[in-house]
Symmetry: D2
């Protein structure tokens, strides 16, 4: 079976809604997923339930592409879970769309998972030794098998035993037998928060999904917490382990929507403050500060504020690129066809430009951006990056390349500056980043410092099925 690394190691968004006063859980899940669309554009799925049996619909594409009115109307039930999946450059595969819906002893179980298990392959092999077959390449299917095997004492016990076995990052939303269940791994690596809606509750990867549905933010789930919502109300089962919180710092740096509050920190505020510190660390004389849209905007505003250099827009991003867009040929690119970004010439020509991005991973985008600004007449281009150099691959749910393709791991800042063609280049220091978080020890910063919160495969290569 061809396992695509990208398919395995994805960033995703999950949501769960328990709305006993509402017969339209599917609609609320739909709007919530739509708010999480930036977390995954490859596939979308919704599973709903009236109590025991589960109906679902999944498909490739954006939420509004997968769900038309007819499909949504067929999903009847007052509780539901949903999932969006990241679009990788590799093959897209319908069978890996989530939620995963399985049946076990007359129970339907639906699972939506954001994260990555580092020992999924080993558990899968063990299960296969016992005769288990697999129909997807999702680690979610491994979790579903474990839940079934441990189910005899009930779902909570099954989840607890499963958590004894699996290692890695996971924010799980599970629906079965009239219960909506949220689970967060013992390091709270991937985000999951709780909201209150009229007569019920919801959970979501980011608080922006709560806002979209009109839910009131309650709190994030704790590390290792199991949260059970059913007709008896809400019950929290804390981890029976000592959990050390290590939330993913990259959610704050790049992944989350700026209006989301992730682990009690507003993503915009984090970026804005980081931009200020970046300015303190590496300001240069310049005429204008601009952002790589959209992720660099809050940091650029902060940088401008701190430095006193005016903030302006320098790159315009075309908003309409969709899945089916026909990419220009190499020859057309060479002739200057630039479909995604265009320079705002008046703000660039003859100017000393500071351009702020959230991070540099491979360096190819940065190089292209410098080139666009140069062609538009920039006198100087100073590249500022609002995070430290990414030196280590993520094993916990973010799709980073292997270490050999991480430019921060293989080149010095000076080498990178030369490679991308900038007049100067500076990254935010690790200290600067820690300063913004206030509680730096509560975050996983392994992509920057290599301190993974648990053992990961050697060699800088990420674990993949083969």
């Amino acid at each position: 079976m061809k396992i695509n690394k990208g398919n395995w190691k994805d960033e995703c968004g999950v949501i769960g809604v328990y709305a006993p006063n509402d017969v339209e859980a599917a609609q609320l899940v739909y709007y919530g997923l739509y708010a999480l669309q930036h977390r995954g554009q490859e596939s979308a799925g919704i599973a709903v339930s009236e109590g025991t049996s589960i109906d679902s619909h999944k498909g490739m594409g954006l939420v509004p592409e997968v769900f038309q009115t007819s499909q949504l109307n067929q999903l009847q039930g007052c509780m539901g879970i949903g999932h969006v999946r990241y679009s990788t450059t590799g093959e897209s595969d319908q069978k890996n769309a989530q939620p995963l819906v399985v049946s076990y002893k007359n129970n339907d179980i639906a699972l939506a998972h954001n994260g990555n298990l580092v020992n999924a392959l080993s558990i899968r092999e063990m299960l296969e030794d016992e005769g288990v077959i697999f129909q997807t390449t999702l680690d979610t299917e491994v979790i579903a098998n474990l839940l079934a095997r441990y189910y005899k004492d009930g779902i909570v016990s099954a989840i607890q035993k499963t958590m004894e076995v699996i290692k890695g990052a996971f924010a799980l939303v599970i629906m079965m037998n009239g219960k909506l269940i949220g689970v967060r791994d013992n390091y709270a690596l991937r985000p999951l928060c709780l909201g209150k809606i009229d007569g019920g509750y919801m959970m979501a990867s980011e608080s922006c999904a709560l806002d979209t549905i009109g839910a009131t933010y309650q709190r994030e789930l704790a590390a290792g917490e199991i949260l059970i919502i059913d007709e008896n109300g809400i019950e929290s089962i804390p981890s029976n382990k000592i959990c050390q919180k290590k939330s993913c710092i990259f959610e704050l740096i790049y992944f989350s929507r700026p209006d989301s509050v992730i682990d009690s920190i507003g993503a915009y505020q984090f970026r804005h403050e980081a931009g200020k510190i970046l300015a303190k660390e590496s300001v240069v004389e310049a005429d204008i500060v601009m952002a790589v849209p959209d992720s660099g905007i809050p940091a650029a505003i902060g940088f401008a504020e701190e430095s006193g250099i005016p903030y302006g827009v320098g790159l315009i991003k075309n908003r309409y690129i969709g899945r089916t867009f026909i990419q220009p040929s190499q020859e057309q690119r060479e002739q200057g066809v630039r479909i995604k970004l265009n320079a705002l010439k008046d703000n660039v020509v003859g100017k000393r430009v500071i351009i702020v991005d959230d991070s540099i991973v491979r360096g190819t985008t940065s190089k292209r951006i410098v080139s666009i600004l140069r062609k538009a007449g920039a006198k100087e281009v100073h590249f500022r990056v609002c995070s430290p150099p990414v030196k280590h691959p993520c094993h916990f749910g973010i799709d980073t390349p292997d270490q050999e393709h991480l430019i921060g791991a293989i080149k010095t800042t000076t080498e990178i500056k030369t490679l991308i063609g900038a007049d100067s280049l500076a990254f935010l220091s690790i200290e600067g980043m820690n300063q913004v978080t206030h509680h730096a020890h509560k975050f996983c910063k392994a992509c920057f410092d290599g301190n993974y919160p648990m053992e990961v495969p050697r060699s800088g290569k990420k674990l993949i099925f083969e």
Copy 2:
């Protein structure tokens, strides 16, 4: 989990192609499936392999709807299997489309199944007790689990052990590890035949699929036979049981395409000859013999030949009805909207008509046909049925209603005659039917005589998941 009986008890078509000289196995499977389209219009699927890994594409609808050129081109490999599935009136479900592709210990396995296991539910429960989860409601998934559990001594041993456990009707095509494997149950209930193509082999439910691809018909698979085709050629492993052949007589009566040879008997010839015997048994004075299109045509021609009454066309069937056709409302039906069949008035008006159909199951279609002929001016309508009354449900892969809805089980011929509004009604006698088969003991005629070749659930209800 809502299990739709119709989805579980389907008639289907399967095909397998081993074409080492060809890189376009998918195309041959496509044309072969197309020839089997009458066996299933709900969903279609193709899985291909170059050796170990398997790619597949499945979807709802007719073969040409599911596969466009782009999809077919992506299916690279010199061997492939395919499946078409019957469209029931109940819900159609993408997840139940076949072939089923699973992964087990780095082996991809693809299965396409035609038939029905009578003990699938019991085995499923036993597997669930061991922690197995299910993602479909296919008994094929039960078979896949058994194969994995028995796999340690190789696939042949695994199939043999699986055949010890499962009961029921199955014609299976399996692809794994460079092997194309065909399996037929110990009663040979469902059809499966072998053909020779340039440099390779193929198997299919019906010989018409062989003709379409240009393959040469070799033989049908024997009861209990396992046939393995790989780079070493073809190997037949006979059953280690004493197998008593009991092929489904309904394939000859109705299901197979008239140009197919099923268990060495041409379907057209069977129907034509049966029509002659029917005429001997129940001819009446009449002006014209006509058929219910298309399945009654060979029998009607035989009936006309034997009786000396001229054969003619009396009902025209619209050829263009597809999945998406908007059905008329009840009110429109009452106003006379008749979209599927129209009477050819000149052949009916003022005539004494003998109308020949292949079988009567519920009686509703027969009633409608008599009504159409009456409205078109028939002086007399004599209904002749080229099979005995269906009195018992099928448990072996044909979607019959429960016994209480089988009109032949609950009413006498005279009562049925009155109910459908015919001037006379006659069925082919069981003796007459036996006479056509020559070797009547080699056929399962349980739907007529209740002599099931193995134990089936009591009560006249079919086994269903619930």
Copy 3:
């Protein structure tokens, strides 16, 4: 502008419904068009009206492909017209889908046209000299322009004046200002009949569309008749010319559905009777008479009846070929891939076969059929054609090739026999054909005898836009 000859010279089907008691005219038109689907599979369209304004929907493909429930529901109005268009091998073009809906002085006008004008190009040039622009390559657009120019004295006068100018074959259904209007050319070349529905009327190319909707057949429109249906009832305006009826004989030979009554003759009866005469003219000793499906069936039954040789099925046609079917490559064809027709071997092998077709145009299909029968083991193949040799192209709405590709025009019967590989070949004589029609002088038989009812372009080439 690229004008595709095939697009210009099409056979089509038209329908009009006036149903004041019904708000669902679109649905009745839909079912009626569906019954006329055999007359055109390239595109379909429906226009409806409540009185003055007209809504329409058109698209490429079969009726059920073009219209889903949502589209049909948006077409509100108690009157409507519809059109299906023939699929030619040339380019299909959305813009040429009908009905044509135009606006003129606050009047919406919808036109659906079956036929071909022989002077459309000349009129178009004249109109262009006056500054008229064209947006399609339909002669319907020429007619629409003439109607507008002659409109000042009302629509009837406009139609009459238009009929003075246009030459050729046309069966027109027009909707405007609360009126449903039918028009047939002065030779009644193309068919159009009238039916009665509950509280209203309908018109259609063939009576089978009336049967489908539950309408009662009234009569065919007369040559040159204008029929106006509105709130005042029905009014017939006869032609003010002496009209000589010359209906297209090919509707009876091939084009119409066998259950349609065309110009008072049942299509099935015509073909059946012609088959009998053909047998009288050219019977040979043989074991079986079979038809090229489906068009040759009535004639083959008649031939068998007359000759006393048994009728049987020898070729099975796959019913599921649709627009999107992926055609086999040349190489696959050579390897024997045969997707459309398969021989029913038991009826062919070792037999002397008489195979009956409705007509021979180019001879390529006939050649392929003889080859299929030979490969299936036929001892002798005697080809019988239930119409005379086609020697002249049609200029009145049927898409025949130019004369140089009409095999009947360029080869003798003996030469054709050799070319198609038959043991013998016979056509129905013109006298035989005339005998079936009873009133031979009322039919255009120009494709056989060259006696066109009006002047047509010289040279054997059909008039086309260029």
Copy 4:
């Protein structure tokens, strides 16, 4: 014919490419249209030509939805024109998609039009009096008819005579007989600029389309200019009238992309400068300046710069809303479902907020935005509008409501402030706006001051077909 005002009075985008060294004009048009997508999301179309004959494809939806690779590949030719059309709330109609392709005396003509003729209805009536029929409700079809009628002395003469007759705003791109022609009305109301590409030229509504293709901006077309590009190069035919330039100021205020240069003024710079003047005119004490995304951003940045109050992001816009998105029900809205905009709470809560938008038309959006900010905890909300109150409907191609729905026309600023719930409200003064343009007399500001550059219909209602 139902004429939808919205459909008639649209803002659109046009493009033309003459690329003799390139056989892929369609691809360049595709990328250019994509850059103009913000000007119209209802439909898109491309017409191409090798010299005389024209091929085209049009459809409803975004550029990437209408054109897949297969459609684009079928459009062969070294010259092409394209069109995108604005999505109104009214009915969308395939027949009104552009370019309009017509045929006249063996010439194919394709037209793409941005603008609105104020006398289209009168000319249409005159043409109808001469018998002309219409198939769309586009004024482009009126223009096409005039071109044909005046064509006898060639296309340039025809355009000149047409321009004598039509009144209103138009930026036209025409393709015929190997020529690409651009035309701008005598007031230069709608934008059209010229660019140079390798071996050829292009024209487009906005310069951002030139940048996307890699073309070099040359100049805007002059008022009344006819520009002809063919194998002989480029020829400019100035208007034979005294033209007084009156370009649409709303292109700079709102419609154009910020990176476009419209009539020699950068749209971003205009908005940024206007924001500064707005700050001078109406600054208040506040904690943060934020924009209504995306159109208010440049002005908000300018406002912040001038006032010294920090700029920040306060509203997050979901980027993924597409055509098929299922809108929330009224009940869901009341329960707080907010799918398009979400407040960035940390920047709003407890703050005195200045929110900057480009304009206020009906006031409903402004009211909703104030409400979102209040709910997010804003202490004060000061609304600043970077244009004067819109008091008069546009008759020249921008889809404004009738005067009675223009809140600036019927209410005072104080009343509007109360209605939208703001603590204060200020518009940019007309003097302030004029100051930014430098050459205020060269702009049409009729929507603000009622000084239409030509006569328009009385009564404040816009001219529509009925």
